[in-house]
Amino acid sequence: MPPLLFFLFALITLGFGLNVVIARNPVTSALSLAVSFVGLAALFLSLDAFFIGTLQVLVYAGAVMVLFLFIIMLMDIKEEADHGRTNLAAIAAGVAVAAILAVQIATVSGRLPESAATTRSAALKLQEAGARWEALGSKNLPTISNDLKAGSLPDAKLMGDTLFSKYAFHLQVVGLLLLVGTVGVVALSKRDKEGSSPS
């Protein structure tokens, strides 16, 4: 990705991220966050993480933000009421903590070694990796090594290979977590028929 595009998408991500924090209207915040996530997905694509970028758009910019907008509109939340007193202490603390953290991160990343390993010249060696995959034998499907030898990065296939071989157990635990989350949401939002408060 050309450097210009990196700066464009970084600006979109950070600018709309700032708008989430300062906007008074919750709907404006939610839509800004969706745009910010799309910019972030573009940054993922620039890092050759095509699967994660797609997931970011589908799950975050799609499902999660629709859920947020649905709840905001369901509750019919108006713009944040001005209570007459602005909590200056909280705003000052927020800005101070964020500034300290930003300075710290800038300092630390300024000291990272600018060696070949941390620059973009750490190029992918697709042909060698393809030969290595092929040498692993017939228990692996040939599709990954074929793609690699053709000079393209089969990102989703490699993710699938990692998730379903190395992290198969973890994947099932996460599936169980989603089931528990679903049951929990139903239990939380069930209205009690007897009139006593359910939650």
Binding site: P3, V21, P26, L55, F68, M75, L101, T118, R132, T182
Partner: protein, 105 residues
Amino acid sequence: MITLNHYLIVSGILFSLGLAGVIARRNILIIYMCLEMMLSAANLALVAFSRFNVTQGLPDYTAQALVFFTITVAAAEVAVGLAIIVALYRTKQSVEVEAVTKLQG
């Protein structure tokens, strides 16, 4: 030339923005959105490390598997959190953090 440092700085600023929002805002929904932003900043750092830590000619897919799990957990967290917020709104008729003081000692 875009290096790892560029991505880490963007990730750090995004995390800081989210943290500032969590501390300064009063609306619980916006606090939740800022939490999501902080999680995404962590994801960006992970993916950047994955890409620049080239192992055997390919990106390090362990980090991207971790990002996959993070996204899944974040989605579950949003669902449960929003259900709690709706239940809270039903009893308090407000989404401001200052309306919830029952556990204050």
